[in-house]
Amino acid sequence: MQYSDTQIKELELKAKQIRRLIVQMLAKAGSGHPGGSLSATDLLTALYFAVLRHNPKDPNWPERDRFHLSKGHCCPLWYAVLAERGYFPKDELWTLRQLGSILQGHPDRRTPGVDVASGSLGQGLSVGLGMSLAAKIDKKDYRVYCLLGDGEIQEGNIWEAAMACSHFKCDNLCAILDYNGFQIDGKVCDIMELEPLVAKWQSFGWHVVEINGHDTKQILAAYDEAKTTKGKPTIIIAHTIKGKGVSFMENICDFHGRAPTKEEAEKALKELE
């Protein structure tokens, strides 16, 4: 599918708006995970605003494409995208992490648009596999997208799922890896090296597309490539920058799990104007 320059431009603007919401939500909540939310913003914005077959007015529409956030701690991004898409009023965003909120600290089915809760890492690719198998059983043509974190794929469950997705030839499933290179304790390569990552996924029977995860044109092309790849699942390995869009958060490990202060948020919002 061809996307015009205007469409690309619009998606980029939308991503900036989503980043602003993430910063604002987290500053208001006083806790949460900005780094990995900002690194995956372009990936999820493109998915929800240009690719996904869905209906925000009917979140349970049986024919909808499925999205599952395996790296659940980055839910501020998902919530911002869902609100921008009209799944629930934007005002709800300011209740993030509060008692009784529909926006829990990690994804929960009380949020319109969330099908399966997450938070305990390493289980989401299996959830996506289940959705993919359900489509096969019911002979439905919906697709399944699953966003993974790089630190997350150190979990053994991921590789069990990786093996099974290719064994069951889940070509209706597309995993997206937000490869920002950082995890809580430091650089992924220092904590537990993942490389050679492309070869790993290929050897597990996956079609691998490697892109710059902040280049909307590349992102859209990768989703298209996944759609047209038959007989095997696709993983988009997206090279990203943790904290992308806010200079003083970029590649700073501390912002994996620390919310910006009021002052930091103001500074960040200026950068995102």
Binding site: S118, Q123, V127, G130, S132, I137, E160, A161, M163, A164
Partner: protein, 315 residues
Amino acid sequence: MEQLYQRDIYGQTLIELGKQNKHIVVLDADLSSSTRTSLFAREFPDRFFNFGVAEQNMMATAAGLASCGKIVFVSTFAMFATGRAWDQVRNTICYNNFDIKIVASHAGITVGPDGSSHQALEDVSLMRVIPNMNIIVPCDGPQSRDAIIAAANTKGPFYIRLGRPKVSTIENKGEFKFGKAQVISEGKDVTIVACGIMVNEALVAAKNLLAKGISARLINLHTIRPLDKDTLLEAAKETAGIVVCEEHTIVGGLASSIDEVIAENHPTKVVRVGIKNRFGQSGESVELLKEYNLTSQDIEKAVLSIIHQENRLRR
């Protein structure tokens, strides 16, 4: 007395359910011939998935299927279903309150020669601490069918515990109702509460006790969650004490469930016949039941201990 494999009944019942409901899906992790899900696999190959030796993946995949409207039966040995995949069961099955029915076979010490690594003695405890989880421990073949049908027809996650060896069918136990204990024999002196294969041991004990002039009330508490508190409290009020029998650790399972209800509502003497802070080991089922004090004689002794205490108090 009729003797049946609970897992044979499970496999046959799955086929029955599969014919009635196209949303029934079955998953296994390389043990389908042992758990008998292989029977379903033969009949409905499009709705059966074998995950190989990967229980964590199987459990979380069940959640994905359930989120799309499937009623998912998941089987492996009790050890791996509840131990290996506990996080997946808690966070991705029970927290979402999905229609996933974990039917685990080879529970308890009667796994026999395979030894400790394969003898789940704490599976009910592990499942009982998770909100939303329903638990049934059927006592025989026919009751396994009842339990599986009840699970298929009731919303939410279930844990159903089945054994490896053949078990004697318990006659005249009345109709099965999920969540309602079965009073197999009325009695006024002491109550024996049992689940699973221990119901048969308890039945033998009750008969022997009757010959000694002791009238034991025998309750088959097949549903551990939700617990039938009314039947238990009646027994606590009407008899001198309760002997609880389970082929499982005495910590966290049936005995603990009863202790909690009794202590909070009507304190009385409770004696636990179960596995006491030990791992299992190799041996034949019958030998192991003896070694771990899980026989009808052990139940008799426990009942007599309550009677003696009662008599001392009366003197």
